[in-house]
């Protein structure tokens, strides 16, 4: 009987996939030409990789994308002098989805892999995904079937390292810091609206024995220099929380006219993590309440 394993969602730049809970993101790359994510199992035996073209050139054909990838596998095998067994075919009807044109492939050399390549007629993305490694886990087929290339709610899921957030699709990721114990995602919305979402693990290390609100107050003042901040306290999900809002104090140049800053932080005691949101812009594109409501901090 197949073993039941808890699955978790990984979401990155509009792509989501469900993987076993102990798998984690090992590589991220691309930035649109094409984009890429690799998620490894904890023992390095197998991994899932997804590569996708958000706005593929009209000349990029599904077959060409796959052939290009398979040629590279062939080259690698030839270099290593390993026999290679490659198969590709049109997806059987039970794997087809109405909005996708799919090809399936598998290969076997010193490692093995199974994968799918498809063109989504709804969002236009071309996605290539494979589960590969020394062993192919029994869940491989399921993992591949859980990959979604667009959202049906108008919000993208950003989920990795047990962090989970949903944000409207028009927010583009401009920078990320993924460190052990610290995670920062910086987004840009319409009209140069900037949003930073940060998560600090092992909060006590950052608080250094001090009070959360003092830490947040100092952090806000550092981040919003030049803004006249007014602080407000409120409990968020029964966690201690602090917010600050303010407008630019001195208008040095016209383009800064009316620029505001809104910061909010809370300390999730259950997970011993601090979440910090920083918004700067001229117009409120999204409220801080909406952002924070769409972040999961602990399981309830």
């Amino acid at each position: 009987m197949a073993q039941l394993r808890k699955l978790t969602t990984i979401g990155w730049r509009g792509i989501t996939v469900e993987v076993p809970e102990d798998w984690s993101v090992a590589a991220i790359g691309g930035e649109e030409h094409p984009e890429y994510i690799r998620i490894d199992d904890p023992y390095g035996n197998s991994y899932v990789e997804i590569k996708w073209w958000s706005n593929p050139r009209p000349t990029l054909i599904l077959e060409d994308a796959l052939d290009n990838f398979l040629t590279r596998i062939q080259k690698e095998a030839r270099k290593k002098k390993i026999p290679l067994n490659l198969k590709k075919r049109k997806a059987p009807p039970y794997l087809e989805r109405g909005d996708r044109e799919t090809l399936v492939f598998s290969w076997r050399s010193d490692r093995k892999g199974i994968g799918r390549v498809w063109h989504c007629k709804t969002c236009g993305k071309i996605v290539m995904a494979q589960v590969a490694g020394v062993n192919i886990p029994p869940l491989a087929g399921h993992i591949l079937s859980t990959i979604e290339d667009h959202s049906s709610t108008g919000k993208n899921v950003w989920a990795l390292f047990q962090f989970y957030m949903e944000l409207p699709e028009d927010f583009k990721l401009v920078e990320q810091k993924l460190m052990s114990g610290f995670l920062q995602l910086s987004f840009r919305g319409q009209r140069k609206f900037r949003l930073k979402v940060e998560r600090y693990s092992i909060a006590e290390r950052f608080l250094a024995g001090g009070n959360f609100k003092d830490w947040a107050r100092a952090e806000f003042s550092k981040r919003a220099r030049g803004f006249s901040l007014s602080f407000y306290e409120e409990a968020f999900r029964e966690h201690p929380a602090l917010g600050a809002k303010g407008k630019r104090r001195v208008v040095g140049a016209l383009p800064l006219l009316g620029e505001f800053a809104h910061l909010f932080a809370w300390h999730c005691r259950e997970e011993d993590k601090i979440f910090l949101l920083e918004m700067k812009g001229k117009k409120d594109i999204i409220s801080i309440e909406e952002v924070r409501e769409n972040i999961r901090c602990h399981s309830t």
């Binding site: 090992a26 790359g29 890429y36 023992y43 035996n45 590279r72 052990s180 693990s201 092992i202 011993d272």
Partner: protein, 134 residues
Amino acid sequence: MPFHLKKRTPTLSKKEALDTLPIRNPYVEWHKTEEGEVIIKVPRRGDWVGKLLTFIFAPPEIRQVALDKIGSLVWDLSDGQHSFEEIVRVVSRNYKLTRREAEVGVAAFLRELGKRKLIVLAVRKEEGKDETKQ
């Protein structure tokens, strides 16, 4: 065989690396404070670089390195009885970190200690023999 990133071939496989046993250098003096934090006494380097630096800067003979809570926990568990994977699990559980976060943090910390010859990693061989590395 990733799509576009080449993996560097590690000396140890991931499984072997997770199975290594970190062991504290038995010649290193250390003690625990009342708060449970570990203080390691690091002697001055005895090689020519150390001698040269001593000649120029006159550093003290013994330098004390204080580990934070997580470092102290890892140091405590580096007794040759716990594998790297077990240490990662304990850190991940105690500090509510994901496995990957704990793995990266513990690996970096052990690498630092290894560089300073404060810790060695014993690799379990298939025959059941231990081989000390680092």
